[in-house]
Every structure is written in structure tokens, then in C-alpha cells.
């Protein structure tokens, strides 16, 4: 009995300070930030900082480090939760989710939209010209519950094409199946286990170059078709998190804005240089970067103010499909950074 009481109190004594400490550490760090971390996920998003990586661009008074993080949205969330990042690229709806979930503890604002959809439906049968032809087939997609899944479902809804999550679709519906990421989907496309897949760049180029697949549809084009717009949908954006949003760092964000805009042209003009730079910094994408691939990425830097309309309508669509996909409620105006 005595032993038990001893052990229990020991556990409590050990655990409570740890928990308290955990809550305290970030607060201490808040007093000074001159260290700035800019992170982008591996894959196409890394293109958005290629020039800055190459030149190791710095702004007076700050020590800026650039990094490419592997591990998808999980790694992004971990970086945000552990205060490891000040500016990052994330799927636009993930930014909205973070905005809602972090409310009251940390500020997060969208500073610019940087990629319109870079998602494509690929397949080995080049004769497919309309989505109707995919009835009775299975379309595999990455990102269940995320952008690829939701936008595809929205497009099918608008086109009034029936679909169901199944591996045995009837002749009048499309079957949807999920894979955790492109690395699992690619070998299955190659072996023929998967006929049609929704993938993002640069995986799309990989399937075209190496497995004899064709780009059948661009989700951007399909989106434009069903929403009667021309802009496509804003898939990924730059977000600023935490103290960097304080007024005293406004100049830094303006500087970042200009550099990012320059970067878009630079990448388009120097694909080989961009690839070398990214590879030196841990880019794990085994596809040669060419202008075709870059144009399929739909990279365009549009500041929050200008992009706001297309982003709100995009997030509203997601919200109507599943409120949780934007974090339960549509972000209010303070989600958009005003420079």
C-alpha cells in the first residue's frame, strides 16, 4: 500500500512539472524574434521558394532560414504546433482548419495564394475524354478528406455523375478508392492494379514519363467548367503564423511578398537551376523539372487581398461539402492578411 502511494505520488511529481513546462516554453520565446523560418512541403510547393533558397535571400535585421519539410500535412501540423515555422505553404483548407483550431492561442493568416490546382486525373487509356466515360471504373485518389478528394467529389456532384466509395462500382457510377500518398499509388499505376488516379504534380509527370500514362483531366479545368470561372481553385497558399504578424514585422512580409513574386518568373526561366537548388536542399522528387511540369503546377503569386474572393468561394464550396474540411466554420475577414 505504502509502495503504491509512493509510486503514484512519484508519477504525479514527475508529470506535473513536465506538463507545466510544456505550456511555458513558447511564451518565453515570444519576446524576441529575429530568427525566421520559412518552410514548404516537399514536392511542387518547394518551387515557391526556389529562388530564395538559391540566393539565400536575407532581410536586414532578420536571420531567415529556408527549409523543405517532408511528411505531408502531419509534418506541417507538427511544425506549427512546435513553433518551428513562421511562414509556410499549406493546402488552403488546412490553413483554414489551423485558423479555427488555433483560435485564441496563435494567429495564422493567409498572406498569398501561390498554387492553383496542380491535380490531374491520369490513366493509361488516352481515349477517355469525358468523366462520363469513367462510369463503372475505379478512380484512385490521394488525400482522402483533403483537397483532391473533396474537389473531385464536388465536380462529380455538379456534373451529376454518381459516385461511391467502393472497389466494385456498378456501370452507372464511379468508384472512388483512396491511397495514403503518391508513393503507394505510383507502383500500382505502373503494374496496372490501378487504372485511373488523381495525382498532383510532380507525380503526374512521373506517370507520364515513366509509365506511359496520359493526363486525362485537369481538376482546375473541370473546376472552371462547373463553376463557370476561369481562375481555377486556390489549392495551396502561403501562411504567416504567430509573432511575425505583429505590425513591427510588416516590412519583412512586404519584402517576402516581392521576392515570392520574382521567384515565379525565375523558376519559369531557370527550371534546371531551380531543380539543382531544390535537390541540394533535400527535395525528394525524382522527376526532371521542365517547363511543361512547371506550367502544370499553376504557380502564381496572388496576394491575399486579390485572392480573397476566389479563396472565399473555394472554402465555401468545401464548407458545404463537409464543414470539418475547413475546420467547422468559414474563416472571417481577419484570416486574410492585409499588407
Amino acid at each position: 500500500m505504502k509502495k503504491l502511494v509512493f509510486i503514484v505520488s512519484l508519477l504525479l511529481i514527475i508529470s506535473i512539472p513536465l506538463i507545466l513546462l510544456e505550456g511555458c516554453i513558447p511564451k518565453e520565446e515570444q519576446s524576441e524574434i529575429t530568427e525566421i523560418n520559412i518552410s514548404v512541403p516537399d514536392g511542387a510547393p518547394a518551387l515557391a521558394i526556389a529562388k530564395m533558397l538559391k540566393e539565400n535571400s536575407q532581410f536586414e535585421g532578420y536571420n531567415i532560414s529556408y527549409s523543405i519539410i517532408t511528411g505531408g500535412s502531419t509534418a506541417i501540423n507538427a511544425a506549427v504546433n512546435n513553433n518551428l515555422v513562421d511562414i509556410l505553404i499549406a493546402p488552403t483548407n488546412l490553413g483554414a482548419i489551423l485558423y479555427n483550431r488555433l483560435k485564441g492561442s496563435k494567429d495564422i493568416k493567409l498572406i498569398a495564394n501561390v498554387f492553383n490546382s496542380l491535380l490531374y486525373i491520369v490513366g493509361k487509356d488516352s481515349s477517355v475524354e469525358s468523366l462520363e466515360q469513367l462510369k463503372g471504373k475505379i478512380v484512385y485518389t490521394i488525400g482522402e478528406g483533403a483537397t483532391p478528394d473533396l474537389t473531385f467529389q464536388y465536380i462529380l456532384d455538379q456534373k451529376e455523375i454518381m459516385y461511391r466509395v467502393t472497389d466494385d462500382p456498378s456501370d452507372d457510377e464511379i468508384g472512388i478508392q483512396y491511397e495514403s500518398d503518391a508513393s503507394v499509388l505510383l507502383p500500382k499505376l505502373n503494374s496496372g492494379l490501378v487504372e485511373y488516379a488523381i495525382l498532383g504534380e510532380p507525380a503526374v509527370t512521373k506517370t507520364i514519363n515513366s509509365f506511359g500514362c496520359y493526363e486525362l483531366f485537369s481538376l482546375n479545368d473541370l473546376w472552371n467548367e462547373v463553376t463557370e470561372t476561369t481562375e481555377g481553385f486556390p489549392q495551396a497558399s502561403f501562411f504567416a503564423i504567430g509573432d511575425i504578424l505583429q505590425p513591427e514585422h510588416k516590412d519583412l512580409l512586404n519584402w517576402f511578398d516581392e521576392n515570392s513574386m520574382d521567384n515565379v518568373d525565375w523558376v519559369n526561366n531557370n527550371p534546371t537551376l531551380a531543380q539543382e537548388t531544390l535537390e541540394d536542399n533535400g527535395w525528394a522528387t525524382p522527376v526532371p523539372l521542365n517547363t511543361e511540369l512547371i506550367s502544370r503546377c499553376n504557380m502564381e503569386y496572388i496576394s491575399a487581398e486579390q485572392a480573397k474572393n476566389s479563396i472565399t468561394s473555394y472554402l465555401s464550396v468545401l464548407f458545404e461539402m463537409n464543414p470539418i474540411s475547413v475546420g467547422g466554420s468559414l474563416p472571417s475577414d481577419d484570416f486574410y492578411y492585409q499588407g
Binding site: E22, N81, R101, G143, E144, A146, D167, E179
Partner: protein, 254 residues
């Protein structure tokens, strides 16, 4: 007599409840200190989300799907493991032939098996293959060592008196091997559930608990993720409980 039952009650129910209480309290305190549901939701919220899930039909389909997959893969593993352990018990060379294979299977990193299976199989099948492969060496070794416990002299004697095979099976082998094999089965079964869920997360299997856990992770909905986790624990516990009941029945029968 009454005194004894209350003591047993104290030992078997009260103390475990105290342990559970300490766990839940620590969780609750930690959650209120962190005060951010995305990082650590309170136990109250997690259970509330679980109860909300109870009303959804997809929840039960997912639980049933995961349960079915666990049972199927466990049965495959069980049949192969028990057959091979009996064969290798009877024929010594077979045992020697199998031994490097079993060591191999036991030492291959779990993640390698998972990653390779994800590429080879459809996502409804992959979790079953994965957990059957990983559970097999555990069951095989467990059964083999149970068989070793049988006293060879008694076997010799029963052979000498020409005891019919089925009588030998039910009155000699099963009573000997049963209880310790059931312990192996008990731990193998709940291990199997955990593996199935892990594989389902990675394979995004339709109608599976793992898939919904993955989705709640995507939405940073940690409370719901913990809700599913509680259900997974209950499922493992339920399966272990069934085995314990069977074990008691066998002991009584013996």
C-alpha cells in the same frame, strides 16, 4: 465467506478502477493545462465525441469492418501456425526447416512488411495480409512451446496402451496445450487488432476504423481521433475478454 468476496472485489475491481481514475485525472489535468483541443482534448470531450459516433451508421460499419478483417486474418494466421507447429512437433526435420523462416519473419521490420504489402495488394486486403504475416511467428512460437510442455512419458504410455486418437486429443493434448495456447491467442488477438488498424490507416481501407482515424487526423480533429482510439481499445478488450471466458470454460471442463 462474505469477507473473501469483498476482498476479491476490492482486488479485482477497485484497484483497477483506481488506476483508471489516476489515468483519467492526469489526462484531464494535462488537457486543461494545455487548453488547446487540437493538441490534447479532455477525456470528457473525447468520450462525448465517441458517444456522438455511436449514432452514426458509418461508425458501426467501420467497427464491423475492422473486426471482420481482424478475425479473418487472425484465423488464417491461427490455422497456419497451429498446423505447422503440430507438424513440426511430430516431425523434427520440419521444425528445423521452418526455424530460419520463422526467425526471418519475426525479425523483418513491421514497417517493411506494411509498406511492401501496400504496394502489392488492394487496400481492403493489404491490412489482413500484413497482420496475418506479423502475427504468425508469434502464434507459431507460442504453440510450439506449449506443445513442448507435454510430458513425453505420458504420450509414450498412451501409445503403449493404444489409446484411440480422439481420446488422446481431447483427454491428453488439448488439456495440456489449451490454457497456455489460449494465453498466446489472447495476446495475439489484441495485437492483431492494433496491426489491422495501423495498416488500415496507411492503406485508407474502405469501411475501416483506420480510415476514419486518418481522416480525423487530416482535419486536425484530435478529439474524434481519440474517440476512435477509445473504441479500438474497447474492441481489443472485448476480444481478450471473450478468450478469457473460453479459457475459464476449458479449465472448468478439464
Amino acid at each position: 465467506m462474505k469477507n473473501i468476496t469483498s476482498k476479491v472485489l476490492l482486488k479485482n475491481i477497485l484497484w483497477p478502477l483506481v488506476g483508471l481514475g489516476i489515468f483519467l485525472t492526469t489526462w484531464y489535468i494535462a488537457a486543461s493545462i494545455i487548453n488547446l483541443e487540437m493538441i490534447l482534448p479532455s477525456p470528457v470531450e473525447s468520450f462525448r465525441r465517441l458517444f456522438l459516433l455511436f449514432e452514426k451508421s458509418y461508425f458501426w460499419q467501420a467497427v464491423l469492418g475492422t473486426l471482420t478483417r481482424s478475425l479473418i486474418s487472425f484465423c488464417i494466421s491461427f490455422v497456419i501456425a497451429s498446423a505447422l507447429s503440430i507438424i513440426s512437433f511430430v516431425f523434427e526435420p520440419i521444425k528445423k526447416i521452418l526455424s530460419p523462416l520463422v526467425v526471418l519473419l519475426r525479425s523483418v521490420p513491421t514497417m517493411s512488411i506494411i509498406l511492401i504489402s501496400l504496394i502489392w495488394f488492394k487496400n481492403a486486403v493489404a491490412p489482413m495480409v500484413i497482420s496475418a504475416i506479423i502475427t504468425f511467428p508469434i502464434l507459431y512460437s507460442g504453440f510450439s512451446s506449449s506443445l513442448q510442455e507435454i510430458d513425453p512419458k505420458i504420450v509414450e504410455m498412451s501409445d503403449f496402451y493404444r489409446v484411440p486418437f480422439f481420446r488422446k486429443l481431447f483427454n491428453l493434448f488439448l488439456p495440456y496445450v489449451g490454457p497456455s495456447s489460449l494465453t498466446t491467442i489472447q495476446s495475439g488477438l489484441s495485437f492483431n487488432v492494433k496491426l489491422i488498424i495501423a495498416a488500415e490507416v496507411l492503406a485508407s481501407t474502405t469501411q475501416s476504423m483506420g480510415r476514419y482515424m486518418q481522416v480525423s487526423k487530416v482535419y486536425l480533429d484530435t478529439a474524434e481521433l481519440l474517440g476512435w482510439t477509445i473504441m479500438a481499445i474497447l474492441l481489443s478488450y472485448f476480444l481478450e475478454f471473450v478468450i478469457v471466458v473460453i479459457k475459464r470454460m476449458i479449465i472448468r471442463w478439464k
